[in-house]
Symmetry: none
Subunit: 210 residues, 4 copies
DNA sequence: GATGAATGAGAATTCATTCAT
DNA sequence: TATGAATGAATTCTCATTCAT
């Protein structure tokens, strides 16, 4: 379920990594995320990152092949967390708690996106630009959840004609709105996040209620 | 209505452009689009573009300030076409033709995106990364259409609680799916474009029917 | 006859080279040769060469792909001169002037090697290490002369059993001794250049005289 | 006679080497030779060699000062074998067995070169580029053999005017042809190794026969 | 209107080498 | 005996950009 982060045991030169090495690798990753939180993605250079992580350029290359490599490692790590969404879908949904479960689903999704906004933005930008590694990874990390979501819709309203497509449309909207939200775009014109979430819940509710 | 492309009459040196100059400028723009169709966005450099457009680097700077400048010019030009969406919203929608109008709306949107896939992808990537010029331009080119769409929904079902939010959710899904579609992502796992469009129409139909 | 240097008309970016550009290219080449005259081959770096030629690193890359590229250009240019050897072979050799013609042949060869010692050393080092471009070029520039030399031997002594092999053995010795001579190796132990040349002439004379 | 390889008993830190240490040192040397057999000489780096020899970079420095140091060790080891040439010269050469002895001499030389092609190529490349250590070593390992060969020629044909020069010319050709042969250069244009060896024997025979 | 020529600046990348363990 | 970890110091290479013609 979801995609696991492989334990990284050797560095770029094939050496086994000890405790110290793993810490350094980790430090580089978190500094990278911090840097991407502020400035644009294009500005992230190896020199800059290495400097901010207090290691030499050469050390960077001990642990990563290039900038993309760090980013992918971050994205991989973040993806683990997304598995929490499955738990909600596996709970019991009844016509009584339908609305609140839908709200919970939407809220949890938003929360997770907020937590990993940087990684998920990177993942999408790269995948959208055709980067195969990220594209493939996104595919893998999304498809299971999407399937499970579609099943849930079918189960809740058996008369729904094409639940798997409805699930994808809604999921797409949720993700895109989460992404836009982070960029401070939504807040601009009197559009509230709350209202959008309600609209999603509403659309689903209309589709599922009997 | 929409955003107009200002007729570019002077080059970077403030000189009035004659026929030949405008052709050169135009050629650079179309080569840029062609190049972006294939490879990733990051690979587009001034030197590369100039070479492919068969002009010297120096000539590039006669017509554009930098790469972003060409891209923006392309995006601006593409945006004019999107105005066609208004025409459909301005037609008369009745309960009789509701479904077919919805289908028409979704189809037209997809067609326009297909036509300007490169420009719109660029616009979104840049805006998503926080580029103010593109962000602002996207805002401007989207908001009017979004408002008009929201009004239409309110008009069709006056009991709809938050039509402007519904319109945004649906619009967001439409756009994102159009973008993903271009990347050949959707076709992969037995998910058909047709099915997604139907799902969008279905969601709207459920929300609007009395 | 021999291998011609193609007139280099465009730079690495495909631009036509004007007078000034060609001079710059030429300057880089001659500085490279000067530098190789002194220090070892491995020490020649782009930065170093560019600095000594009073151009920026970037300018180097306008005219050459890399260090090997300059070297090859130098080798190509030098090779033209070697064609003078043909003239001597095309003269009339008789039993009367045989010895003096042999001496002239050997002397001329040495003189040309002395003149282009740097380029020819580079050519051989690269070819010997398996560099295809130089290997191929050496093949091309040697084979014709070798053939002509073999013919001459056959013509002078028709009873000679394998003139083409004799010519190659002698040519090989001549070249190698020329190369060693430049390195100041021969002079060391009471071995004189003169003596070696005489020995070559002597060997040929013994093989050719009736 | 020849140059002996000093038994290397201590490592770079002056510590006496035990069995395990000697094996490691040996392994690094043989991997180095293997690597040089394939790719070009310039590509051999400490990191690469250490990785391929399955030791850490640091371990490399336990046994060698730098890459040149390994190479020299290899060259030294190979050189011992070359002493076999003396044995042939010390046999009795008569006018009856002259031709077959000459053939044996040439053949043995080729065989030895083939066996140590990598080391001898390295030795010559380094020496040719002016590396004093290798230059000096080559001088030492060659001069004795060269002298002995010259004496033999003088002994066989006392009227030969400059036997020591003839010996050097022939030796030079032999070595160079052996080197070229290894590079697969000779085989290319219908030139057979056999023919060249015959030519060398022939030249010597013509010079020695009464 | 167009372009040869040149370059400053900086980013990526690689290597040999050291040292504490 | 062996090696994780780290790095200083080059070096290559590329790009946007300018300017005189």
């Amino acid at each position: 379920m979801g995609v696991a982060t492989p334990a990284q045991l050797v560095n770029q030169y094939g050496q086994k990594m000890g405790r110290k090495g793993q810490l350094t690798r980790q430090r580089i990753m978190s500094i990278a995320l911090k840097m991407l939180g502020n400035s644009s993605y294009k500005d992230l250079t190896v020199s800059d990152l290495a400097a901010k992580a207090k290691v030499s350029n050469a050390t960077f290359y001990v642990y990563f092949k290039d900038i993309e490599d760090v980013l992918f490692a971050c994205v991989e790590a973040a993806s683990l967390d997304m598995n929490a969404m499955f738990d909600i879908l596996n709970e019991t949904w009844t016509s009584e708690n339908l609305k609140s479960q839908l709200e919970k689903f939407v809220d949890s999704f938003n929360t997770l996106w907020e937590k990993h906004r940087v990684e998920l933005r990177i993942r999408n930008i790269e995948a959208d630009q055709g980067n195969a590694r990220f594209l493939n990874f996104r595919q893998l990390s999304t498809i299971e959840l999407l399937n499970r979501f579609g099943e849930k819709l079918a189960e809740l309203n058996p008369r729904l004609e094409n639940p798997e497509y409805i699930s994808m449309v809604i999921y797409t909207a949720m993700e895109r709105l989460a992404a836009l939200n982070q960029m401070g775009i939504l807040g601009s014109n009197s559009i509230s996040r709350r209202g959008l979430d309600d609209a999603i819940v509403e659309l689903l509710y209309m589709a599922l209620k009997k």
